[in-house]
């Protein structure tokens, strides 16, 4: 895995924070929308944008990874407005 700040490091130094997902507004979301956000996941294999953390340095970033083959395609720092 290539950390955007620290470069290529062993995979054991990284922790996966799950898929990048847009949170609905908790004040206006219905119970159904909120439970869909809290519990449901898109678990069909695909190239996904995920949060990863390089734990020794605490850098959180985005990795595009194919969940069928485990091939990491791209890593970069998060920018506001990035969606799934």
């Amino acid at each position: 895995m290539t950390c955007p700040v620290n470069g290529a490091r062993a995979i054991s130094e990284f922790v996966c924070g799950g898929e990048l997902r847009a949170m609905p507004d908790p004040d206006t979301a219905s119970d159904a929308t909120w439970s869909d956000y809290v519990f449901n996941r898109n678990s069909v294999p695909a190239v996904k944008r995920e949060w990863w953390c390089h734990t020794p340095s605490g850098v959180w970033f985005i990795a595009e990874r194919d969940t069928a083959t485990d091939a990491i395609q791209r890593t970069y720092l998060y920018e506001a407005g990035l969606t799934t």
């Binding site: 119970d31 869909d36 069909v44």
Partner: protein
Amino acid sequence: MPVRLLKFALSRKHPEARMFTRHEQLQPSYDVVIIGGGGHGLAAAYYLARDHGIRNVAVLEKGYLGGGNTARNTTIIRSNYLTPEGVRFYDESVRLWQDLSTDFDLNLFYSTRGHFTLAHTDAAMRTMRWRAEVNKHFGVASEAVDAQAVREALPMMDITCGGHAPVVGALYHAPGAIARHDAVAWGYGRGADRRGVEIHQNTEVFAIELEDKGSGPAVVGVITNRGRIATRKVLCAVAGSTPRLLNMVGLRSPIYIHPLQAMVSEPIKPWLDPIVVSASLHVYVSQSARGELVMGASLDPYELHSTRSTLDFAESLAAHMLDMFPFLSDVKVNRQWAGMADMTPDFAPIMGLTPVRGFYLDSGWGTWGFKATPVCGKTMSYTVARDEPHPLIQGFSLDRFGRYALTGEKGAASVGH
């Protein structure tokens, strides 16, 4: 059995008839189509034919029979769960297991060993007492025992676990058992086959056809690599492929897929009778009838739809095994493998009806599915035959998440995931 064995030995007709009939063609329609030819799917087919008289059933398997998680688990059977729903359900399963060899006329090597879940902290010990009390309340033989009792039962274990995780006690579950997992799939498959169920291997499902006449979507057919089948009822029992099947019918679920790895040692003389689990050290181990140590650990830490193995896993599991049993340092690892575990947020399965009429789910079996094989077959066949959930699985419905009514079973998972 001995008479049959003698007859077989003296017979000129070797070998015995094949376990299953091979069907060249799919029929144009079936009353029930079961997707997934593992233990769960075959058990459901068996009980549909035996107990509900529904024999026009096809079991579709993408690969070969029992080649998925049925063949990839560590064969442990227990019912020492945490929630009342879980305890009742798994207890029924253990009861079914105990008669299964006779039922099938096939030796499952079902072996009751006793099961120790080690506690290395006071917090873990508290959960053990909680589980023991819930278990006893439902008539399941579990008790919290102290470190001395563990020392007596497992004299070969380093009770301090390398000095860094001393055992303070354990949950002891006398009915804990192991069985030969392949034989379970074969036994259910043969029983179903003899009762008229068709088993189709190398048959992959590409799509599930739905129709909506105003009252919501309903199943009308299944498209496979060998043609279309008309059916009103589909049971999905595909473990790690569940999200792909759900996607075909437009359903969302909390299921997430992580690989779960396991490995076995070379065969050694019998020395380990009970099954030993340590949540803190991420180890569960038993010794098989062949003398191999069957070892498992926690899930791989991120989503992956693959059954690849990793060296990281073997190293960390071996290190923890040596903390407990230092004398194994010369023993070699023979095989290593992985299965795709369909995990749920509350560590309980997802079973029963779905918003799509005629689409039944037996899923969310994560790391705890093998032991539930018989009771899943029983309850899912009831559910499919009557189109209503069996009373034992009502706590496991898909809609519990929408109601924020989870069935929290994580405390009874064998290792901290």
